[in-house]
């Protein structure tokens, strides 16, 4: 290392740039930190010197000559120093130095043969320096408008003293060093430091922070850090963005608000699950959901049942249980460096939910009421020129009408009287209100009361909430009750305890079946243009038997469905966390935490008596699809030790070392049976045949982790973490994995002055996380029991036992075995991230941008095998997915006045996903299919995933479409990729305006670059509803060439032609691009004066809200481009026969009571 010596050559040093000097100094100081203690007490040669009014430079020169001791310091210190009078003979170096430093405000340290000189620090109580007596400080903190800032945190820099301001913004700090520096933080304001400088009465003003500069964000392990200090990207969304215009699943409210994040739900009615993807599709098989952490503990977000091509209902996920009123913030840890501390569960990113607490010095009584109304949106644009019928002929008999209710291949709609399925005649003319009439306006009412109080010793908040929701589908909706408690108490000055408990009782009535026909209430979407769905009421005869409404009795009459089908899912859930923290000293603490998430579900699914397809030959009908109870639990026990240490005044060191034990348990018990003996009595003992299912799993993960933060003067920041996870689900020779991360931030604006840029940081991170094995009983994806072949037994056959092999359902029929794999190990995800955070014009403009590149390795794939291999699927650790992208978040405050202000937040993300490797043969991995079953999605090496693969036409060498002898186009026998289903460019823009007490805000989000596999397209083409089927209705269609390239002369009827086209499934692929007006809020807050004479309230705010309002632009025809029947990645971008999406309008009123 190079030390710059102060000798006669000194002036040369002035040529060195300031920056270089600082860097060198840093290095020198690091050396000091490590060697100081070791060098104390070392013998040193003595000095003889005599001089009056000599410069320090001269003295140091002498010291160097006589002792070889080099002096190392910032040259300006010596230049500015007073001259000294020194007379010493054979004195120790320290004596000379003490003499020199007297009254200079300088301090020195000796390291080996180097003397380092620095400015003396005021905050450090140097033994040598005289300490002024401590004083009591009283202060008042206001904002720029002069209003008090209650609940602000005032801390004494360098000590553990902290107080909060009271309602008047006042605080008292007894016994403070007269030279102390106070640090004041408050959410929404810039962090500000004040010098006490001996004053006992202070008046301090805070600046409103335009963005999050200086704000604390919650990071991994629940540790709050200043955002400016992070080496990776995080985004926080405040609760106010989640609870005015609501979604029954709060995760959906994150859509469009966070760069890098996409959120889309399933069209399965209220309480449906959400697909939440951070930075593209993180991996092929992890399901995509980020890990949710609520107040420091992981919470289950597993899907409880979803629709597929064979139907089913969306039974919701875990995050959907959380009441938005209880959420203070949701923080999205996007980069792997941010989430690395969670090890094997962090590869999809982490979302940290912090629930509301009371602020210190505040009492709180608050009541919030929210009323919203959902209304079905109709995105269809069908043809209304031709009516029901086949081959150009309208029906002439009731049977013919029944068979053609969903076929619009009839004659021109001419208003003529035409027979219907019920034998009555109706006008053969357009009818367009089926969606409007069949779906109702679904009201939803949420009432939340919260109370709380906070003081120096602790705080608590308790809330009780009730959601009473009705779906747009009749007899369907949610009833959800939530009790939330958050309490912290200081037991002694060293020991504090926190209890968090969230109890949810959610009862969902009649979650609708989607996608396939049986029990699906949504099939009136495909009625012929002249058919009014009301003629199918009540859907049943006097005996309660279903009246079939179409050619296919497996497509249940929707009126019968909404009256009779039962699909109730109930959940009782308790999420608790108890933690205790003990501060051994002001720099060392230990914390223990037990978190438990326990879900108890009861699902009751009945195909009712009278359902047409369910009759047996004895006239008994109905089926108990299942009476199911399942319990899911996760226990997390954490112990961690934290050290916060100053190596020097400028270099801070924080470290955490911890261990975690996690236990997951799952138990599923179902009774089912078919054909009810006593009609309408839906109980397990009343069925002719019985079935039962039982699944169980348990697993454990043991982990250890560390995190070290180094912070040099708040402008150079370095963090490193590491985690080791050991899994019970893996073979013993391959059980554990270590994943590291390192990230750094450099606040370059520290070195800039007087520019428009008031904050600028560069950051970089490298991190690795891992992912858990997949597979498990009942599609739980728990990873258990995959390393051996298991054998079981199924229902006996006429008393003879029946065996099974590795059947996921333990059923010999329709359940091919899964091949085990003894060589599984967790996959890894490695990410590099570079970013910058810039704030201009006093933070009126902010830019937060990131480039990231992430790649997975050894992803555990479950490729479908050809059944001819003897197994239907297997597990192999060969997958690799890559995501590269840029995300930019812009924040701006174009207008910032006392009366009027305008804030904009805009974000854009561009992600390129690429599948690098699939299974061991690099085969396509089949994902989901749409109900017509002639196309599906798949992971294909070299392409973005999931990719739609569909049948194309066959073409001759010249590119002409080949037709067969009937003049009908011929489908290719190979599936061709037609694009990925996940967007490549997406984001949103939020605008918030304040005019005095009025606020107005709206959110627009957009989505580009994805394709949709649309069953609606298939059905509308096949059934003649699609406008494209108008061409050729009269006179047929003659197109294409025959196999030898000659022009086709054979004319096909429109019906034959378009029905063939429907089979050529590329015609079902649509474009998913859209821009949508997602949310609008308009509110008024009554406070103080405006509240007038109402004595009860401190403030009342009322907001009119709208959500999912309309598309500013979209390309997909007849459908909502966001429509999905399932939220999983497997079925992403696949659409059909689900609920129409709903527009929501409502009002939110919040009452803050006077204390």
């Amino acid at each position: 290392m190079h030390l710059i010596a102060i000798r006669r050559l000194m002036p040369l040093r002035q040529k060195l740039s300031l920056t270089a000097m600082r860097v060198v100094k840093l290095i020198a100081i690091i050396m000091l930190g490590t060697c100081l203690q070791a060098s104390a007490g070392v013998f040193s040669p003595n000095i003889t010197f005599s001089g009056k009014n000599v410069s320090l430079e001269k003295v140091f020169s002498a010291i160097y000559k006589q002792s070889g001791y080099l002096v190392f310091c910032d040259y300006s210190l010596i230049k500015e120093a007073k001259k000294v009078n020194i007379h010493v003979h054979d004195a120790a170096v320290t004596v000379v130095l003490d003499e020199c430093m007297k009254d200079q405000g300088l301090a020195y340290e000796i390291v080996d043969k180097t003397i380092v000189i620095e400015r003396k620090k005021v905050t450090v109580a140097e033994e040598a320096a005289p300490v002024p007596p401590p004083i009591d400080v009283h202060g008042r903190i206001t904002n720029e408008k002069g209003e008090p800032v209650p609940g602000a945190t005032v801390s004494v820099k360098g000590s553990s003293k902290v107080v909060a301001t009271n309602d008047n913004g006042e605080f008292t700090l007894p016994g403070v060093d007269a030279n102390a520096v106070l640090v004041v933080t408050s959410i929404g304001y810039e962090r500000t430091e004040f010098n006490v400088a001996g004053q006992t009465t202070l008046s301090l003003q805070l600046k409103v922070g335009a963005a999050s500069m200086g704000e604390l964000v919650v990071t991994a392990l629940g540790i709050s850090k200043e955002e400016r200090k992070l080496g990776y990207a995080v985004t926080t969304v405040g609760g106010d963005q989640l609870n005015k215009a609501r979604e029954t699943n709060v995760a959906l409210s994150l859509g469009g608000q966070v760069a890098g994040l996409t959120v889309h739900g399933a069209n399965g009615g209220p309480g449906s699950s959400a697909r939440i993807l951070v930075r593209g599709m993180p991996s092929m098989n992890s399901g995509g959901s980020p890990l949710f952490i609520i107040n420091g503990i992981p919470m289950d977000n597993s899907q409880r049942g979803a629709a597929g091509e064979w139907g089913g209902s969306d039974n919701g996920d875990g995050i959907g249980n959380i009441n938005p009123d209880d959420i203070e913030t949701m923080t999205v840890l996007k980069g792997q460096a941010a989430s690395a501390l969670y090890g094997a569960r962090a590869s999809n990113g982490v979302i940290i939910i912090t629930t509301k607490t009371s602020k210190k010095g505040q009492a709180l009584i608050e009541y919030n009421v929210n009323g919203q109304w959902d209304k079905a949106a109709n995105y269809t644009d069908y043809q209304y020129q031709y009516g029901q019928g086949l081959e150009g002929v309208k029906p002439s008999t009731a049977a013919g009408a029944l068979a053609t209710n969903r076929f619009a291949w009839g004659s021109k709609l001419d208003g003529s009287s035409t027979i219907q399925y019920n034998g009555q005649n109706y006008a053969y003319s357009p009818f367009k209100d089926n969606i409007k009439n069949f779906y109702r306006v679904g009201p939803s009412l949420t009432n939340t009361i919260s109370v709380g109080q906070g003081n120096d010793r602790g705080n608590f908040r308790l809330s009780v909430s009730n959601l009473d929701n009705s779906s747009i589908v009749r007899n369907s909706g949610i009833d959800r009750k939530t009790i939330n408690l958050n309490a912290t108490q200081k037991i002694t000055d060293r020991l504090s305890a926190t209890v968090f408990a969230n109890y949810v009782d959610e009862q969902d009535r009649n979650r609708p079946q989607l996608s396939d026909g049986p029990g699906d209430p949504n099939n009136f979407q495909f009625l012929s243009p002249n058919v009014d769905e009301r003629i199918f009421q009540p859907g049943q005869d006097a005996k309660g038997n279903e009246i079939v409404f179409s050619d296919d009795n497996y497509v249940t009459n929707p009126w019968f469905v909404v009256r009779n089908f039962i699909n109730n899912t109930g959940r009782k859930r308790l999420i608790t966390a108890v933690s205790a923290k003990y501060n051994f000293t002001d720099w060392l603490y230990a914390m223990g935490r037990v978190g438990y998430d326990y879900e108890n579900d009861r699902i009751f699914q009945v195909t009712p008596t009278g359902t047409n397809y369910s009759f047996n030959s004895a006239g008994q009908s109905g089926q108990l699809n299942g009476l199911t109870t399942l319990t899911t639990s996760e226990l997390n026990v954490d112990g961690l030790i934290g050290v916060s240490h100053k190596i020097t005044d400028d270099l801070h060191f924080d470290a955490t070392l911890g261990a975690n034990e996690r236990k997951n348990n799952y138990e599923y018990l179902q009774l089912n049976g078919s054909n009810f003996i006593i009609p309408f009595l839906y109980t397990p003992k009343n069925t002719l045949t019985f079935g039962r299912q039982y699944y169980f799993y348990q697993k454990e993960i043991h982990s250890g982790y560390y995190s070290v933060d180094l912070n040099y003067k708040d402008w150079l920041l370095l963090t490193t973490t590491g985690r080791y996870d050991a899994f019970s689900t893996l073979p013993s020779n391959n059980r554990g994995i270590f994943t590291p991360s390192v990230s750094g931030g450099f606040v370059f604006s520290h070195f800039l002055q007087n520019t428009a840029l008031n904050f600028g940081k560069l950051r970089a991170a490298y991190a690795q996380t891992s992912g858990e094995p997949i597979g498990g009983p009942n599609n739980t994806n728990s990873g258990v029991y995959q390393t051996a072949t298991y054998y079981g037994s199924s229902n006996p056959f006429n008393g003879t036992p029946v065996g099974t092999i590795n059947g996921a359902n333990g059923d010999v029929q329709n359940n091919l075995p899964i091949l085990p794999n003894l060589y599984l190990k967790p996959f890894t995800l490695t990410e590099i991230e570079f970013g910058t955070e810039l704030k201009f014009f006093n933070s009126r403009l902010g830019i937060d941008a990131d480039y990231f590149a992430r790649k997975t390795k050894n992803e555990i794939m479950k490729p479908t095998l050809s059944e001819s291999s003897g197994y239907n699927s297997t597990y192999v650790g060969t997958g690799s997915t890559q995501n590269r992208g840029v995300e930019v978040q812009l924040t701006g405050a174009p207008v910032k006045g006392k009366f009027f202000s305008w804030n904009i937040a805009f974000n854009i993300t561009h992600v390129t996903n690429k599948i690098l490797h699939t299974d061991q043969f690099n085969n396509n991995i089949t994902e989901g299919a749409y109900r017509p079953l002639n196309a599906n999605t798949a992971f294909i090496t070299g392409m973005s995933g999931p990719q739609i693969i569909a049948y194309d036409y066959t073409y001759d060498a010249k590119g002409n479409k080949i037709v067969d002898a009937s003049g009908l186009p011929v489908a290719s026998n190979k599936l061709t990729p037609f694009g990925g289903v996940l967007p490549t460019t997406y984001g949103g823009m939020r605008n918030d305006f304040t005019f005095g007490n009025i606020n107005f805000g709206f959110l627009i989000d957009y989505n580009y670059g994805n394709k949709i596999l649309s069953a609606t397209s298939y059905y509308t083409i096949y059934r003649g509803l699609n406008k494209m089927t108008l061409a050729g209705r009269e006179g047929g269609i003659t197109t294409g060439v025959d196999a030898s390239g000659n022009a086709n002369t054979k004319s096909a009827t429109a019906q034959d032609y378009y029905q063939r086209l429907a089979g050529i499934s590329r015609n079902s692929v649509q474009d998913g691009d859209y821009i949508k007006l997602r949310q609008v809020t308009l509110g008024y807050t009554f406070t103080g004066k405006t509240l007038g004479n109402i004595p009860l309230f401190e403030a009342i705010s009322v907001n009119l809200v709208g959500r999912n309002l309309f598309y500013i632009s979209k390309k997909a025809q007849n459908i909502d481009p966001e429509s999905n029947f399932a939220s999983s990645v497997q079925y992403a971008g696949i659409e059909g026969t689900s609920l129409p999406s709903a527009r929501t309008f409502g009002i939110n009123a919040n009452f803050k009571f006077k204390k």
């Binding site: 296919d552 454990e700 050991a726 079981g792 029946v802 065996g803 010999v812 075995p817 490729p863 396509n924």
Partner: protein, 538 residues
């Protein structure tokens, strides 16, 4: 400072302790408590599994009744659009892909149980009978698959555990060669002195003698499949099978009776008794005509005309009219859509039944009799004595050495056929005297080989079809060409102008085994069509 170091030391050692300990229990945590491992499992349990999955293939709700039953013109349906259009008109409904894949999936699954069962007992010579019977079941499955699709995986099939995930498609000829050789060598290993399998769903209950007969009957069936493609091999193995001993009476029939109470349904009936479809399914014109022309006593037990009116016809407990004169079969290819192919334009249209709101346009056509067929427990045959005797009749007619003359075998076959409806249901019992009289008055006409083949194979078609083994009826019709059937030519057909002669490969194969699938398609001239022909059908 010393204190600080101590604390660090404590922290580090505590952390190491936490990490290093307690992954010992992980193996037991990761053992499924709800299932067994090989060491404590009785492989006998897997014999019944093989049989169930074989019958799920042959009776598949999503297979035979929707496809082969009408391709072979045994049944008919004038409902269109409907999923019966796949069979009746060769017009694809939305789920054709899944109907098409059903047999493949279930048969390979059955074969996989058989393969695993053989693997489990490899080291247990005492269970060699179980192993041998499992191999016979496996060959039964593979024959069914190759007969349906053509070239299919066999030599490398079922070996995913040995890391063969992409089995090649073997040529059908090679498959037959191998299957016959395997059968030939395995049947003699069955040994009554060794342990008998405990979970046999056939009426044999593990009886070695009966399994041997079943093995040779299967060999006979395989051999006779080759008459067109390789008559010499056919003769060799037909004679070998006869010499080994095929079925000697209906008591040897290989069948199972389903168990609806335990969720094992005859899925042909699962489809037939589905309320809406129930009124649509009719006997084909050819079946009723054939039975009427010969005054066959079977007509009374298999056919009935529903009571008048769509309401009565929909009642599955309401038996119909079984009088001889009332029976009418419905030709394939018609609909109720008012156009040229409307059922009312059918040349022999018997008229509708009922009137007004209960008008039943197809109400006067005969349907499969409720008394005989409606049970979800309806037995299904793998191979029965009637079939083996009819096959032997053909072998004898061809001059091969199979003991008795063609006429004797034919009479045995016809007798057995008429007896077999009682196996399905007591309702189908035909009095022995009636059978004797009918068989005596309907001998094999031996004027020429052609007439013999026509008579034998038409009888085979009629018997297997009306016993609801539609796949076997289809295979034998394709091989023999009898009876002469006229294809339907309905617009939008996936098999234009021809009765389907194979099933397209499951659509999933293109994704799960792409190279071998493409190679197989290329061998067929680049197209995977229903009109293509398997090797023995060339």
């Amino acid at each position: 400072m010393k204190n600080k170091k101590k604390i660090y030391l404590y922290i580090c050692s505590a952390a190491l302790l936490t990490l290093g300990s307690c992954t010992k229990k992980f193996d037991s945590i990761n053992t499924d408590p709800t299932q067994a491992i090989a060491a404590n499992y009785d492989p006998n349990l897997l014999l019944s599994s093989q049989q169930i999955e074989y019958f799920n293939a042959s009776t598949g709700y999503s297979g035979a009744i929707l496809l082969q039953s009408m391709w072979t013109q045994i049944l008919a349906s004038a409902a269109y659009p409907s999923y019966y259009s796949n069979g009746d008109k060769y017009v694809a409904s939305g789920n054709l892909n899944s109907y098409d894949a059903s047999l493949w999936t279930h048969c390979y699954n059955s074969a996989s149980y058989a393969y695993e069962c053989q693997s489990l007992v490899k080291t247990t010579p005492a269970l060699s009978n179980l192993s041998g019977m499992s191999l016979i079941m496996e060959l039964l499955d593979i024959q069914s698959i190759t007969d349906t699709y053509g070239d299919v995986p066999f030599s490398q099939a079922l070996q995913a555990k040995s890391n063969v995930n992409l089995p090649i498609y073997d040529a059908q000829q090679a498959i037959y060669t191998s299957m016959l050789a395997k059968l030939d060598s395995v049947i003699p290993t069955l040994d009554a002195s060794k342990a008998l399998p405990t979970n046999d769903l056939f009426p044999y209950k593990g009886d070695v003698g009966k399994w041997k007969k079943f093995g040779y009957s299967l060999m006979l069936r395989m051999a006779m499949r080759l008459t067109k493609a390789d008559a010499a091999t056919a003769q060799k193995y037909a004679e070998k099978a006869y010499a080994g001993g095929t079925f000697a009476g209906t008591a040897d029939d290989a069948f199972v009776t389903f168990d609806h109470a335990d969720n094992y349904n005859n899925n042909n009936i699962g489809a037939y008794q589905t309320t809406e479809d129930f009124s649509e399914v009719k006997w084909n014109y050819n079946v009723i005509t054939a039975l009427k022309l010969s005054a066959d006593p079977r007509l009374k037990v298999i056919a009935e005309v529903p009571k008048p009116g769509s309401d009565s016809a929909a009642m599955e407990g309401q038996m119909g009219d079984t009088t001889f004169a009332a029976q009418k079969g419905m030709p394939n290819g018609y609909d109720q859509n008012g156009g040229a192919t409307d059922i009312s334009h059918e040349p022999n249209y018997p008229g509708s039944s009922g009137s007004g709101s209960v008008l039943n346009v197809t109400g006067k056509y005969s349907r499969p009799a409720i008394g005989e067929y409606i049970s979800l427990n309806l037995p299904a045959f793998a191979i029965n004595y009637a079939e083996t005797e009819l096959l032997l009749a053909e072998a004898a007619a061809r001059g091969w050495s199979v003991g008795a003359s063609a006429s004797v075998h034919y009479a045995n076959g016809l007798t057995a056929a008429l007896q077999s409806y009682a196996t399905l249901s007591a309702y189908g019992t035909i009095l022995p005297a009636t059978i004797t009289a009918y068989v005596a008055s309907h001998p094999l006409i031996t004027t020429s080989l052609t007439t013999e083949l026509a008579q034998i194979n038409t009888q085979y078609w009629l018997t297997t079809g009306t016993l609801f083994d539609f796949n076997e009826a289809w295979h034998n019709w394709r091989r023999s060409g009898y009876p002469l059937l006229t294809p339907i030519n309905y617009a939008g057909s996936f098999s234009p102008g021809a009765i389907p002669r194979r099933q397209a490969y499951p659509s999933t194969e293109a994704a799960t085994n792409p190279i071998n699938y493409q190679a197989a398609v290329t061998k067929m001239g680049g197209t995977d069509l229903y009109t293509g022909r398997v090797w023995w059908d060339k």
